[in-house]
């Protein structure tokens, strides 16, 4: 059954690329998160409270308090092995979701090609998958990050719900724009490129405040530096992840799925 084959292939691809991502992250992303959390406790409580009151409609209540936004009493993984374990699990789970989406989309293209052949059928292999990996990186990392760079813990930003919605808009528009441009058949397909710009024309929700309001000036400067490092570290880790996910997906779709697509 086609559905089961894709699930199986996505488990394999998601598992492998999620583990790779965890390893790269552990080495250059997580240390920055930990450093930022150390700084987080240095926020001046009064200033932080004032800031959170000024902040327009914070969806997360008083999330800019010194002790991070974690609500009192809510479960959280213990420091050390437990926290690392949950991060690896979350990475693998997200990678599984990405792999499912990517391979389902790939299989749709393969099926379309089989039902209505065009001159240039792509050869399914890991190299073809790498192209999909680059597209995935653009859709799920680059496009959302252009408006809303990955942020370190402790920074103040616009309400969460609005930013999540904008993230989905950016990913959705970029995916649709790329798909129309690459797979469209009429000359109008180049209009798909306009979709790439749409979320950035609409604009990302802003908090109207400095991200490190409430911190002493020297700490804020340190956190600004961390925030810049974080953008580069995540850009690299996610690039490695998406290339692995794409390459593996191309291989797996050819190996396990292609035969049962039509």
């Amino acid at each position: 059954m086609l559905f089961r084959r894709i699930i199986f292939a996505a488990l394999l691809v998601g598992g492998l690329s999620g583990l790779l991502l965890s390893a790269v992250q552990r080495w250059q992303v997580i240390p920055i998160i930990n450093a930022a959390e150390q700084f987080e406790n240095a926020r001046i409580p009064q200033a932080a409270r004032a800031a959170s009151e000024e902040a327009p409609a914070h969806s997360h209540g008083d999330h800019s308090h010194a002790a991070h936004e974690h609500e009192a009493g809510a479960w959280e993984p213990a420091e050390g092995v437990e926290r690392i374990g949950f991060t690896v699990l979350a990475n693998v789970l997200a990678a599984f979701g990405f792999a499912l989406m990517m391979m389902a989309a790939m299989a749709m293209v393969v099926r379309q090609q089989a039902l209505a052949p065009r001159r240039t059928a792509p050869r399914l292999d890991w190299r073809y998958g790498l192209l999909w990996g680059v597209a995935g990186y653009m859709v799920f990392f680059l496009a959302p990050s252009l408006g809303h760079p990955p942020e370190i813990p402790g920074s103040v930003a616009a309400p969460l719900g609005a930013r999540q919605l904008w993230w989905m808009l950016a990913a959705g528009c970029t995916a649709a724009g790329l798909a129309v441009t690459v797979f469209g058949r009429s000359p109008w397909r180049w209009g798909g490129l306009a979709l790439l710009a749409l979320p950035h024309v609409i604009g990302v929700p802003e908090s109207g405040m400095s991200p490190f309001v409430g911190f002493p000036a020297d700490v804020a400067a340190d956190m600004n530096r961390l925030a810049r490092q974080f953008v580069w570290a995540t850009a690299l880790a996610n690039a490695a992840f998406w290339l692995a996910l794409g390459g593996l997906s191309g291989w797996a779709i050819q190996r396990f799925v292609a035969k049962s697509v039509v």
């Binding site: 059954m1 086609l2 559905f3 894709i6 699930i7 996505a10 992250q25 992303v29 997580i30 998160i33 969806s59 997360h60 999330h63 936004e69 974690h70 609500e71 809510a74 479960w75 959280e76 993984p77 926290r83 949950f86 991060t87 979350a90 789970l93 997200a94 599984f96 979701g97 499912l100 989406m101 990517m102 389902a104 299989a107 749709m108 099926r111 090609q113 089989a114 039902l115 799920f140 990392f141 959302p144 990050s145 809303h148 760079p149 990955p150 942020e151 370190i152 813990p153 930003a157 969460l160 999540q164 993230w167 989905m168 995540t234 880790a237 996610n238 292609a258 035969k259 697509v261 039509v262």
Partner: protein, 60 residues
Amino acid sequence: MQSQATIAGTTRATLLSKGIQLASALFLGIVVLYGSGFVQSSEVHNAAHDMRHAAGFPCH
């Protein structure tokens, strides 16, 4: 890539159901991603916290 003969031998009903299977896989992928990256419940947020920051998902 399958040959034309195989395609002709496949019934329309099977083709339709394969399309639905692919759409279901895509949808399941979106649900899994939403669950790990966007659900706002405290427990899920805390468990996935570092992944969300590292992936560039809006976290808090």
